[in-house]
């Protein structure tokens, strides 16, 4: 998930690509805008998400969770709940003596014949707790006399230590130094479809419908946790309502669901509610850094010295890249992970990057102001050089022109009246790239085609691109392809994380369909009196290259298969995908300086993405990423009561998310680079938006807010307390 450029283990040199599999030079479908094949099913409700799965005799599971942030279980009494109406199974997930580390830590579970009865019954489980002292914030955990988050482990752990170049020299070269503390906060994934599972046993075999980003990974997780062979587990995920990195494993609720189903000898549905979703399904860790940075009189970055910390909750780290993207020749960074008694972090859409980006990009604008330099010009000066996966300099230039950056005023809008307007810019990078997907293609004698791949569509349009790639390869309309995904009965494909799905799945489908086509050519060539290598498939026909009249319609060609369909396996191969993306975003905001309310007026997102498969769903990735990041910038905030350590906003009422009217005009420029092959972009567009918004707020108001979210209380406090040096 978390790969930086140049990171990771050394890869063997790629095998040269078989020229048959090369992406077509003049594609008819790839790069066009194709509507999601399952769009109508989704909007009409025909699409069945895990929540919609109902099995004969199915009952409902419910988890009992710790109400307090830190405790030891003294005893668990299940006697009352066993007699409650409709209860079919009860289990203790933890034993007496076990330590609980956060509000929402699972303790026990029940299954009952209705969801309502399961909820009521769960309240009858009598758990006695010995409450232990807790820490609810990073500051509390780092205080000298802090209580310990765990009886076994300290509140902090030294993390990354990096040093490059010579700091002393770097600071000597600096004409200006900025020294400040920057921070981002904890937010949740807030999947629209909550985490959950339906489990059904047939003897020793388990079928699990799981809201997951990785069918095969989830199957592995069930097998390991339940001690059964993975071959006895089938996971199905036909439709999925968002994961953002939080849905790879079965999790406690999945294993509990399977166990309750075994105990009750009945299928069990266990979907979390919104509150549980907030408390126990992961989050983006916080990030803090005290940074001292230097810039030379001519605007070159010279030195960067940072002490950073952050919390991933109970026992989880909170690392992030720092400094981000820009080149500080002399730099040092020391990181500390801080543990608090709160739900634990999970990978969240570009893990670490939005945090590192914010911490660095706000600093960049402060440094630019010190040397009286335009933020775009300053960034161009200090960005890595142009490369296919590093297009920042070009995007800064093109984007500034398209956005009307020349109309940006220096820091602090001089316009009279309470509404101040400002522009900001920020840049990002990501890895992406493909790996190890497999697929299977059947071509039947009636001409029908099915493409099977054990990937899953997490809402990004994977089902549609599977069909597009197959249709492109076979010269057929998309409607002639039946894409089958979201089931471990189909060939292995990896989890949908790290922006790798499109770049893993598309090459696999390309290779497999081209292999299948070769098999079909072999059958058809004798009929057409030619050799297989002289044939092409296009426009629904198979014909001799350069002579469309000498050929057969697809269906007629397939008739020559007789009783034996073409059935071919294939796999991802090098040369059809690559990794490494860059992007730049511009933002324009208004700030009401009498209320502190920030409104985002427009965003321009410049994004490279290799070979675009479906332009429409690629653009949707950017829309979604930008909107999610706007929420990070302005609205979302996991708020723990500082005294009790309990979350005050585990809902969608006080955990704010943008509505339609909070979402600005979003312009997208996708840089199609077919020569690079497919590169996923699920994550990068969500990295730099928040920083671009915060820099625009700074440009509008003339004051710097060094922490997210940009809540009115911070805007008003900053306006009162401090004026930034303007250019």
């Amino acid at each position: 998930m978390f790969r930086q450029r140049g990171g990771g283990p050394a890869q063997p040199p790629p095998k040269p690509l078989d020229p048959r599999y090369k992406w077509p030079e003049k594609p008819t479908l790839l790069g066009t805008s194709v509507k999601r094949l399952d769009g109508p099913d989704k909007v009409t409700g025909r699409a069945r998400y895990t929540y919609d799965i109902n099995r004969p005799g199915m009952i409902y599971g419910r988890i009992v969770r710790s109400p307090v942030p830190h405790a030891k279980i003294t005893s668990i009494d299940l006697s009352a709940v066993q007699k409650a109406p409709g209860v079919k199974a009860v289990l203790a997930w933890k034993e007496a003596g076990a330590e609980l580390f956060y509000q929402g830590d699972p303790v026990a579970a029940v299954a009952a014949d209705t969801e309502e009865r399961a909820r009521d019954a769960a309240r009858l489980v009598r758990v006695r707790y010995e409450t232990l002292p807790h820490v609810a914030t990073e500051a509390q955990a780092m205080a000298a006399d802090a209580p310990q988050w765990s009886t076994a482990q300290a509140n902090t752990r030294a993390g990354t230590r990096q040093e490059t170049g010579d700091l002393e020299t770097g600071f000597k070269q600096a004409a200006h130094i900025v020294e400040q503390t920057y921070s981002t906060h904890v937010i949740g994934h807030v999947c629209l479809e909550t985490h959950g599972t339906v489990c059904e046993w047939e003897g020793d075999k388990l079928t699990a419908w799981v809201s997951t980003q990785g069918c095969h990974q989830a199957a592995q997780g069930f097998a390991q946790a339940l001690g059964i062979p993975q071959t006895d587990v089938r996971v199905i995920t036909q439709y999925m309502g968002g994961g953002f990195g939080s849905k790879f494993a079965p999790d406690a609720q999945g294993i509990i669901c399977a166990k309750l189903a075994k105990l009750a000898n009945a299928p069990v549905k266990l979907m979390l509610d919104r509150r549980e979703e907030h408390l126990d399904t992961g989050n983006r860790p916080s990030a803090f850094a005290h940074i001292k940075a230097g810039v030379s009189a001519d605007g070159m970055l010279t030195a960067f010295d940072a002490t950073s910390w952050g919390t991933g909750g109970a026992g989880q780290g909170a690392n992030f890249p720092l400094p981000y993207l820009y080149q500080f020749p002399n730099r040092r960074r020391a990181h500390t992970d801080v543990y608090i008694n709160a739900g634990t972090q999970r990978a969240m859409r570009a893990p670490g990057h939005p945090q590192g980006c914010f911490l660095t990009e706000i600093l960049m604008d402060e440094l630019a102001d010190r040397v009286k330099m335009d933020p775009v010009e300053f960034r161009i000066k200090n960005a890595p050089k142009l490369a296919p996966n590093a297009m920042w300099i070009e995007y800064f230039q093109r984007g500034a022109k398209q956005f009307g950056w020349d109309k940006r005023h220096p820091t602090g809008d001089p316009t009279p009246g309470p509404i101040k307007t400002g522009m900001g810019v920020s840049a990002h990078l990501w890895g992406g790239g493909g790996r190890g997907s497999q697929s299977h293609v059947d071509i039947m004698s009636d001409g029908s085609v099915v493409v099977k791949c054990g990937t899953q569509d997490i809402g990004t349009g994977t089902r549609t691109i599977v069909a597009m790639v197959a249709a492109e390869s076979l010269g057929l309309p998309i409607s002639a392809i039946k894409p089958e995904i979201g089931d471990t009965q189909y060939p292995f494909s990896g989890g949908s994380g790290g922006s790798t799905t499109a770049a893993s799945v598309s090459p696999a489908i390309r290779v497999t369909t081209m292999k299948a086509l070769d098999a079909l050519y072999a059958k058809v060539a004798p009929v057409l009196g030619t050799d297989a290598q002289n044939l092409v498939a296009e426009g629904g026909r198979i014909h001799v290259k350069g002579d469309t009249s000498k050929g057969l319609a697809w269906k007629d060609a397939c008739k020559h298969l007789g009783t034996e369909p073409i059935s071919v396996d294939g796999a991802w191969t090098d040369g059809l995908s690559s990794s490494g993306t860059s992007g730049v975003q511009f933002s324009e905001v208004t700030v009401d300086i009498e209320t502190g309310i920030v409104k985002v007026k427009r965003i321009l997102a410049m994004q490279d993405c290799g070979l675009i498969v479906d332009k429409l769903t690629a653009e949707s990735q950017v829309y979604g990423g930008v909107i999610a990041a706007l929420n990070f910038a302005l609205f979302e905030d996991r708020l723990l009561d500082r005294v009790t350590g309990q979350m005050v906003n585990p809902n969608m009422e006080f955990y704010l998310l943008a509505g339609m009217s909070d979402i600005p005009k979003i312009e997208i420029v996708l840089n199609n680079m077919p020569e690079r092959g497919v590169v996923g972009i699920g994550e990068p567009p969500t990295v730099s938006t928040a920083s671009a918004i915060a820099n625009a707020v700074r440009n509008a108001t003339g004051v710097t807010i060094r922490s997210l979210p940009l809540h009115p209380h911070k805007v008003l406090a900053a306006l009162e307390q401090e004026r930034a040096g303007g250019t």
Binding site: Q103, I597, R642, T644, Q646, V648, E653, D662
Partner: protein
């Protein structure tokens, strides 16, 4: 959710009779508050009395030139009512800002006035606060950015959640209340109660077996009114602060403020009448400068908590802009 008996009342009398019950009986209208409280185990009534079909849901003219609004009227109907918008524009303005179209389609006028606090401590079962029979207000040492900046003597520091109560109070409304012993009329200004240790589990004078059946608005007279709401999100969000201003005008130019009503929302445990702002407005010309002075006067007595001093500035702005709004001066 605890199992409950359901009574579908078809008249005011029947509803009131059903509420008089040996156990906990609660009225259900639009359900935008009660159902959420029940699902979250904040309230577990033994009996739920549906009053949607029992209460008036219409607007009727009163002999003195005012309007009488039925308690079961949907917020959407109130927002779209031509006479309401004409006579009491701040009521219509407040109504259209409530929640979302879905919420306004369900929520009722009576329900909006009588909804329980939206305080996040009250709404989460774990926090056994004064409002739930406990012995502390968690907001005092906790997360109080949305809590009160006026009337902060405790024991509770909620802000009153009703958007409609504020303009109703500003226009001098009365509430008609029906109980087992007959009906009574209570001035909106007397209806809401500041918390004391004795009454902290309620926000108004309504008895358990009483129903608010009507809001009676007097003829507005020669007034100009303004309403301004500050929310973080553009919609579907509770206001940070809002204000309704009703100005009686006179003088030779007709632009002198004879008297004013300034009522603030989301700043105190009750809809908060700012006498200081009213005094600052009396006798002044209606213009932007006066508006700013009134905004300043309105916040003079604010006593913020540890994390909500920013609401003072927002209150200043809301008052100023509501007055400018009344004067027809463009605001942000």
């Amino acid at each position: 959710m605890k199992a409950f008996a359901y009574v579908n009342a078809t008249s005011e009398r029947e509803a009131v009779a059903a509420l008089k019950f040996d156990g906990i009986a609660l009225p259900l209208a639009g359900g935008q508050d009660l159902l959420a409280r029940m699902k979250d185990y904040i309230d577990s009534p033994d009996r739920v009395v549906n009053v949607k079909n029992a209460l008036d849901a219409t607007v009727t003219a009163t002999p003195d030139g005012g309007l009488k609004i039925g308690g079961a009227m949907k917020v959407v109907d109130l927002a779209e009512h031509a006479q309401v918008a004409k006579l009491y524009p701040a009521v219509a303005a407040a109504a259209i800002e409530i929640g979302t179209p879905q919420i306004r389609n369900q929520a009722t006028v009576g329900g909006n006035i009588n909804q329980r606090p939206r305080c996040w401590y009250y709404r989460n079962e774990e926090f056994v606060c004064y409002k739930k029979g406990g012995s502390r207000c968690f907001a005092v040492n906790g997360e109080n950015q949305y809590h009160a900046i006026f009337g902060n003597d405790g024991p509770s520091h909620i802000v009153h959640p009703s958007s409609l109560a504020v303009p109703f109070l500003a226009y001098g409304a009365k509430f008609r209340v029906l109980g087992p012993n007959g009906e009574r009329e209570i001035a909106a200004a007397e209806y809401f109660t500041m918390p004391t240790l004795q009454n902290v589990m309620k926000e108004n004078v309504l008895a358990d077996e009483e129903l608010l059946t009507h809001v009676i608005l007097p003829a507005p007279g020669n007034v100009k009114s303004g309403h301004y709401e500050v929310r973080y999100k553009a919609s579907h969000d509770w206001p940070l602060v809002f204000a309704t201003i009703v100005l009686a005008l006179g003088g030779t130019s007709g632009n002198t403020i004879r008297s004013a009503r300034v009522v603030l929302g989301a700043v105190a445990p009750v809809p908060w009448r700012s006498k200081a702002a009213e005094d600052a407005l009396a006798g002044k010309p209606l213009n932007e400068q006066t508006a700013a002075l009134a905004g300043e006067a309105a916040v003079k007595e604010a006593k913020p908590m540890s994390g909500n001093a920013y609401k003072i500035q927002i209150t200043r702005t809301a008052v100023k802009r509501a007055i400018m709004n009344a004067a027809g001066i463009k605001t942000a």
